[in-house]
Symmetry: C2
Subunit: 355 residues, 2 copies
């Protein structure tokens, strides 16, 4: 690796990965020769292949078989793709248009962008895809209201700059009066308005220098609602097309399939697997066999608003995956999603009570 490969070696290595990706079979010297290097003989290709094998790029499953790529070969292949001008070759204009169109169609229907994006990516690539939305706690409270209801109950409404945060019915004891509720509402506003959800973690009621006598219970209650919200709102992970992986011969045994699916469907382990390359624009990981999903390649793209990474979209598939297409699709979606978020954050979104 330290040494540069000769041009012909590069060409042969690239050809080998290409062929292996499309057929899944070990690639023979004559395959490469006939389809990629008609100007030399297969014997020449053979000697180059054994050199590449010595360098650790490829291997033979057995003596009388062709060669298959090793991780190093895939890395070389991916590098050579991204070096040669990125996605432009991978998707035709028509495909690009189709994907964009289908995405926006879905987006109008479903409220959730992650879901739509995961679906589109999985459909376009035919691999298992996922989306992670990094739950930003950078939310500012605009207004807190205690709304009295009939029958000694009340609702806490918390309005933020990102929409409605939560609402919860609480019981009031029998002796509270309307004035009390009103006063409490005012107090809540004084205490919480303008605060950021992030600061609430380390928020101590006793620091507040407002009149809280008599209102401690209700303050605690609201604080609790907010804390539960913060702690329960970890990153959301959406997986789409999990079963597609089973179409590939790499996962043709039920045990392997089961192992794969049980990792893939567990949101926590997914979040952990993907946390490594959270902020990398476009990351390709091949065969890190530490975490249950070995024999896999994971390609992720981070989508941003300004400089903030707000989520990741990605594909998980067999090592021999169609990297050209996958990278093309992910770059397209990254771009599209970044734009969508950028324009949509200016509007108030619908409220979602969460408990």
């Amino acid at each position: 690796m330290s040494k540069e490969l000769s041009e012909r070696k590069k060409k042969i290595l690239h050809a080998l990965v290409d062929l292996y990706i499309s057929t899944g079979q070990p690639v023979s010297s004559s395959d490469i020769q006939s389809k990629y290097l008609p100007e030399v003989s297969s014997a020449t290709v053979r000697s180059e292949l054994s050199a590449l094998e010595a360098l650790g790029y490829i291997e033979q499953p057995h003596t009388s078989a062709g060669r298959i790529p090793l991780k190093e070969a895939y890395k070389f292949y991916v590098d050579s793709i991204s070096a040669s001008g990125g996605g432009e070759t991978a998707l035709t204009d028509r495909e690009t248009e189709m994907i964009r169109e289908r995405f926006f169609k879905r987006l109008a229907h479903i409220e959730d962008m992650s879901k739509a994006a995961a679906k589109i990516i999985s459909d376009a690539t035919n691999y298992t895809s996922f989306c992670i939305e990094h739950s930003s706690m950078d939310i500012e409270i605009e207004e807190v209201k205690l709304v009295p209801l009939k029958g000694r109950k009340a609702v806490v409404l918390i309005v933020t700059d990102k929409g409605m945060l939560a609402n919860k019915a609480i019981d009031l004891s029998d002796d509270v009066k309307d004035e009390y509720v009103e006063a409490a509402s005012d107090l809540l506003n004084k205490v919480f308005r303008g605060r950021n959800l992030l600061e609430l973690e380390s928020f101590d009621l006793s620091e507040i220098d407002v009149e809280i006598r008599g209102f401690k219970d209700i303050l605690d209650e609201v604080l609790n609602i907010l804390r539960i919200y913060v702690s329960s709102h970890s990153d959301t992970v959406v997986v789409e097309g999990a079963l597609k992986m089973l179409d590939y011969p790499e996962y043709s045994s039920v045990e392997d399939a089961k192992a794969f699916l049980s990792v893939i469907e567990d949101k926590d382990s997914m979040a952990q697997i993907l946390s490594d390359d959270g902020s990398i624009e476009l990351s390709v990981r091949i065969g890190k066999e530490d975490n249950g999903v070995d024999k896999c390649a994971i390609v992720t793209a981070a989508y941003k608003v300004g400089d903030d990474v707000v989520g990741q979209a990605g594909v998980i598939g067999p090592e021999r995956m169609d990297y050209k297409k996958v990278i093309g699709v992910l770059e397209l979606m990254k771009e599209t999603m970044s734009k969508v978020i950028d324009t949509s954050t200016k509007h108030i979104t619908d409220g979602r009570g969460e408990y």
Copy 2:
């Protein structure tokens, strides 16, 4: 079937199913003889077996193999279990206690009973389990409130006898005054208070003989919120332990596994599959191969409050499943859940905004 089987045939048939369930292998005449009928010879068992085969209860995979049960045999087996006193033999007191305890532990943690129940059932039986909650639209609106917020926005709060229904931020045009909001709030209450969600489907604003001039927009808005709620709240389906099915040799091929999983994970098709025996107390369906999940048996129990079926819990597994245990667990859970719902519906539950 019209004819009654002899006692000995019944005994042999029961033994055969028992053995097949525990081993998964074709059962030979000598197996049955040595373990269940030591008083006769295997030749006798053999002649009985060929009689049972002629009657359509069992079959041989090939000439020199033992017998395996057909659907008729399973039906006979299940009938004979439920006839002989139901669950009492299936679960020990200790097991019953364990299951109950674990269920209530989970229930405290997770808000959602269906999820907890499905998890417990799947764990206890080692099969794929599911729970359906029939979304009852028999919900009465107790109070509607329009709460003004800063910045020309307002929130619609709908309180029902089952808890908080929904909240949504709406924009108000610039020229509305506080008095308008108050009046609108009053009107909304007049119109909707006491109404049942079911009647809203066929609700026509023009029928209302209250003053609606000037408030039509807001009434429409609220009506729309309610309608969206009703239409989007189809029955919720929870599936647990989907991958457990892959442990059984019936699904040892990836294609079969894939077909199974794709049906099982599609909430709609699940709901449809289970809609047939919605109200049956305890239903056992074996090998209805119409709907994608052939080679399966489905056992469902309906849980009720009073006379109303409010949900179903069930197990889906290979035809040769441990029916004794499954039926035992489902009856236990059915009972437990019915009680839980019965006592909990008296309290107001937490609100859940839904859009």
